[in-house]
Subunit: 201 residues, 2 copies
DNA sequence: TCTGTTGCGGCACGGCACGTGCCGTTCCAT
DNA sequence: ATGGAACGGCACGTGCCGTGCCGCAACAGA
């Protein structure tokens, strides 16, 4: 789904094509922030970019594909995972960083719209998974696996589920309850997960 | 956002109006299942229902509002909460019921589209929260509170977060990873939550 | 019984964005 | 010099939007 355009040109032409591609994506993010994803249109992006509609359709097959590429490209490089040896600290650090980036303006509303669009358009869903969700989930599981090998996590604990348990409540707060994702909330979730629900003597 | 139509008529007229309202909602669900929410249009619903577009716009302000009303009305009565005295058993029962109803066809795709639309349209988000999310969350928290008072849950445990921890991973699997919501997955999540992540001696 | 009101189906309208043609231009490779 | 490729600009047909207007039928009040 990402823009795989501009093959087989001279260096100058390739440079110009890349420039246009980036300009279109920048305009897309701008416009989306101004009017919202629902009112975003390819015509509008073309007009503000000073570009023909063909130039957009040649690069992306749909509004959703363009938007996904624009949002994800603008928010790279990805959220890196630290490995200090302390899983809890690393998870906490990474989750706070993710919340900072995706859970609040300016990217928060765009990310929300992106996930929303993925519920309507399977190709957007696939691209979002491939380019962001999966890599992020894989990194988390990999980090958890190292911790498990070091004895910080029970050897038979279900790591895929662990990842879902860490991410799920935050997505729930963000997408379902639609309430702000604060660092305080992250801490409440982490505390609850670490302390456990069942009473201890 | 629900349809608050047909005030101030005779009984006969009110009956006819209610019939039409329900027929339109039935058609909406049908069409959405056939062509998907993205390709659903008010014109299409009006045509198949044998109804003028005005008759729809008089009842609902937008496609999203109509769809929300149609989906939620078709899936009532709500998911009741049992109270057998055993929290874990009650939670397990309720979660499995919710997954059966909303996590798979025929309602699964519609509920997914509904949550997706809520990411684009604040009025849909508000109505979804008011009519479904909040009541459901409140019932869960209330059930947890009773269990807490009976000593089945630590007295200082964060019940709002507990609710998010129970629901979040399932929404994550459903909306983000877009993988099937099986009973087996529910059990994996419950087991992980109950056993805990940190190693026990 | 007569009259005003109300919801209705049917039709038409202007508006917008879609996705796709065609044209002429520019730039590059051959 | 010749051909090709990407481009901006323009126009087109299509689909759906939301909103008018019309005539009809069912009711309500006098």
């Amino acid at each position: 789904m990402p823009c795989r355009y501009s093959g087989g040109m001279s260096d100058d032409r390739r440079t110009r094509a890349t420039d246009r591609t980036q300009a279109i994506m920048r305009t897309t993010v701008e416009l989306a922030q101004e009017v919202g994803y629902a009112k975003l249109s390819i015509e509008g992006v073309a007009a503000r970019s000073g570009v023909g509609k063909h130039t957009i359709y040649r690069r992306w097959p749909s509004k959703g594909a363009l938007f996904l590429d624009a949002v994800l490209t603008s928010s790279e490089p990805a959220l890196d995972y630290p490995d200090t040896g302390d899983v809890i600290a690393d998870l906490r650090h990474q989750i706070h960083a993710a919340v900072d980036l995706l859970g609040r303006p300016p990217l928060g509303p765009l990310y929300r719209a992106l996930v929303g669009e993925a519920q309507h358009d399977p190709s957007v869903a696939a691209a979002l998974n491939e380019r962001f969700i999966r890599p992020q989930a894989d990194r988390t599981v990999a980090r958890l696996r190292r911790a498990q090998q070091q004895g910080q996590i029970s050897p038979d604990f279900d790591l895929d589920v662990a990842m879902a348990i860490l991410s799920g409540p935050l997505y729930f707060q963000f997408l379902i309850l639609q309430e702000p994702l604060t660092h305080e909330y992250v801490e409440r979730v982490l505390k609850a997960l670490l302390v456990g629900m069942t009473p201890r003597p």
